[in-house]
Every structure is written in C-alpha cells, then in structure tokens.
C-alpha cells in the first residue's frame, strides 16, 4: 500500500463549512441570509446535474447572487458536474469560462475533460471534485489532486463513518460530505437505473428520472407513479409519496411487494456532527437545488444553529428536538435516516 501524503487539516478544530443549495436567486439570498457559508448553483443548461425546467441561473442572476454572497463574505460554488458531450464539449468549456468570468469561488466538476480545461485555462480557479465523479478512496482523490489540482472532494453517500474517517485521515485535500437531503443510494455517477428506464441519467443529461418521463395517475386503487411507462409504485390514497426513481420503487420480489433497494427517505446526519467535525470534515453539503426557497431557508437555519452549537461545545452537543422536527418536516417521505453512515450492508 502506498503511504498517504500528510493530511494538514485533520487536526484542525475548524467547524465544517455549511454548503447549501440554490436553484434560484431567491433561494441563494435566503440561504446566505440564513447563515450558509457557501451556496452551490448551476447554470440554466445541461452542464450541471440538476438541469430542471425553470431552475438555475442565467448570467445576470448569477452575477447578482455572487455579489450578494461576497458582500457578506460568503462563497458561491458553481456546479459544472455533468460529463461533456463528445459531440459538443465547447458548451462545457464556455460554461467554465463564464464561471471564471463571474468570479465564482470554486467550480464543482466531475468530468476529467472539464477539470483539465479549467486547470489549463483558468489556473487560478479553485476546483472541487463533484460527487458525480464517485471517488470513494483517498487514492482516487489523490489522483485528481495530482492531475488537476482539486482542493476539495465531495464524497458519495455510500461510505460508512469509519470509511469517511479513514479517508479524512489520509486525504490531503478538503473533504465535503452530504449532511441532509434526498438520498441517492448508488455510488453517484455509476448508477444506470435512470438511463435504463428513460435513456437519461444525471451524468449525461443532468437529471435522474427526468420529469418529462414521470406520470402520476389517480385511480380507484390509489395513485400510480410511472417512469417512461414503467410502474414504479402504487400509493394508497392516504400514503405519503416520494420521487418516482427506480431505486425507490416498490416491486414484487419473490411474491413480496416492497422497496427493493431504498425507501423514500432523507439523509440526516445532525447527530453525527461532533464526529464529523472531529474527523476534520471541511464542509457539509445540503442536498436540494430543486427544492423551494422555503426548504433552503429553513434547513439552512437548522444546520447553522447546529454547527454553531457543536463548535461552541462539542462535548455537550445534542440534537435539539425542534431541529429534528423542522428537518423531518422537509424530508422526502417525512422520514430520515443515517444512510450508509450506519447501514449494515454495502
């Protein structure tokens, strides 16, 4: 086994930075005002992994948002985390140029071609490795650092706490983990379920289970959720629902109808905050660029309060019931889980 480079940040007592989603200028403003250290945004095209109709920023909106964040000493990170289309990669290069011109604080990328373009044309631009690159070992992250100069890596939501700890110990770049939001259970970037059913996936088109393929139909037995004609779930009239992604569907498996892979639920790692801080996790990411500004504001407020409380008295930190209530209210399926951080199976 190769020896790891010195991990300078590991012993740092610095609390994790709070990185919040913004699908609109309004969400960005509310996130910043609610205490986000940084927001991540995307442009209105397929260069980012939340390419939904009506969502994201044009150049003028991005400029206004960045000015607001910078005026308060906060950061704006630009997600450019889909894989460049081999037929027209110029679109991704132009997006990198645009982000650099706007003065974003970092680019979040997954594709090595996009990383290489940014490194060569905008060497001053800070690069973060997107979760979509699905780097799950410190060796993989180290490769991206050596080759492209990444300064931070966002970990896929598939690692146990012990694995995150091991990775933090060995990595010489900052580590960002997901703290809250809808769960994607696969090693992101390697999931073919959406492509299998709809021909589109996060890495190619910037969407998992694209809304154009989703149909909800109210019937006598309840509500049918179909993805490109494939029945993903049938909800009883009063049953809570989730996004119709193939991974969260209910299927007949050997005579039993149940969730085959994952339940509609949200990740919530508030209770792990002291341990994540002690490990030297540099940033905690909140999922949900597609959610409303109200979600962004309220979730940001809870996490700001929690991170501040943990930083003030890590040993006495406890999750406040009102935090749990608020986060539970905004969760998919109104349930939350520690996800892979404590899941027994891999």
């Amino acid at each position: 086994m190769t020896s790891s480079p010195a991990a300078s940040h590991v012993a740092s007592p610095r609390p994790p930075r709070l990185v919040c989603p913004a699908g609109s200028l309004r969400a960005l403003t509310l996130a910043i005002d609610a205490g986000a250290d940084a927001v991540y945004i995307g442009l209105k095209d397929a260069t980012n992994a939340r390419n939904f109709a009506g969502l994201n920023f044009d150049i003028a909106q991005a400029r206004e948002g960045i000015a607001h964040a910078h005026a308060l000493g906060r950061e704006v990170l630009m997600a450019l985390n889909t894989f460049a289309d081999a037929h027209a990669p110029q679109r991704w290069w132009r997006a990198v140029d645009a982000a650099a011109g706007l003065g974003v604080d970092a680019l979040i990328c997954a594709d090595t071609a996009v990383l290489a373009y940014a490194r060569d044309h905008h060497p001053q631009l800070r690069l973060h490795l997107s979760v979509q690159a699905s780097a799950t070992t410190w060796e993989a992250i180290e490769f991206y650092r050596e080759r492209y100069g990444i300064r931070r890596a966002v970990l896929p939501r598939v690692l146990t706490l012990a694995q995150v700890e091991q990775l933090c110990r060995h990595s010489s770049v900052e580590i960002e983990v997901f703290g809250f939001g809808s769960l994607c259970v696969m090693v992101e970037g390697r999931c073919a379920l959406s492509s299998y059913v709809t021909g589109q996936s996060p890495n190619t088109a910037g969407v998992c289970s694209p809304p154009s393929a989703v149909r909800w139909t109210d019937g006598a037995d309840g509500v049918d959720a179909r993805l490109n004609g494939v029945l993903i779930d049938r909800y009883a009239p009063d049953e809570a629902r989730g996004y119709p992604t193939l991974c969260k569907g209910r299927f007949d498996v050997e005579g039993t109808r149940d969730y085959a892979l994952e339940e509609p639920t949200s990740l919530n790692t508030l209770s792990l905050l002291p341990r994540l801080t002690a490990m030297g996790v540099a940033a905690i990411k909140i999922e949900g660029r597609q959610r409303s500004p109200a979600y962004v504001e309220q979730v940001t407020r809870v996490w700001r309060a929690a991170i501040d409380a943990c930083a003030a008295q890590p040993a006495r930190f406890s999750v406040q019931p009102q935090w749990t209530t608020t986060l539970g209210r905004w969760s998919e399926g109104q349930q939350h889980t520690l996800g892979a951080y404590d899941r027994p199976w891999r």
Binding site: A27, A53, P210, P211, D218, G242, S292, Y295, Q335
Partner: protein, 149 residues
Amino acid sequence: MTPSATPSHRVLPPLPPVLRELVARLPVHPPSHLLALALERVLRPRLPADAAARLAGHAVDIEVRDFGLRCRVTLRDGHFRSAPASGPATLRIAADAASYLRLLRGDDDADRLFFERALVMEGDTEYGLLLKNTLDAIGPLLHWPLRRA
C-alpha cells in the same frame, strides 16, 4: 429511521358544508375568470419573459378541494385568461385552500405538500415542474394574513 410527520398548520377555517356545496355547483367559468384576473394582477408583472413563453398555450386546472372550487386558466398572448372547460388540461393541481395559501406566502414547498399528499398534481409533470420552479424563483405572491411576530 425516525418518522416525524408534522401536519400542515391550518391557516383558514374550513368552509361550512352548505357553502361548500353551493360553491361546488357554481359553473367553472366565473371562478376561472376571477382567478385569471388575480393572476394577471399579481403574477404577470413578475413573470420573466422566458418563463411566460414556455408556460403559454396550456390549460391548467386548479381545484380548491375544501371549497369544492374548480378553475381552468391559461396564459395566451401574454395574458392570463379563463380557459374553456371542455377537453383535457395539460396539468391538474388540487389542494386545500390552506395549502395554496402557504405556497402563495412562500411558507411551504410544493414537493413537501406533494409527499404529504396535501397537493395532487396530474398530467404533464415537466410542465408542472416548470410552473413550480418559476413560482419558487419569483417568491411569495401574497403577504396575507400577516405573519405573527
């Protein structure tokens, strides 16, 4: 896993059944017309041109379940108008008045209401999402009743 469902706060008293029945019997047209007028006043001036272009030309059914009220509106030639009740709508949205009010005030999230089944959306999901994202980006359309401090 911790289930932690919280019901939506009621912000409006339920409509008495007699009144509800009466409202339900009203023809679709007058409420649709009123809704179109309201949207024309509150929403149209704040609607970005690109969103207006993408939303135009589709009929949307809006049902206020607890009031038994049903409206159909469309955006045509740059203006909100009531749409003919015949034929299918591109999108059907159904919720109680309290849920609509919370959305209009920017206090709630359409996804959350949808998960909770407080809001039903049927038809063209992509169009629904475009509408939702456009409204989210615009921000609250209503500041009534005033928030308590």
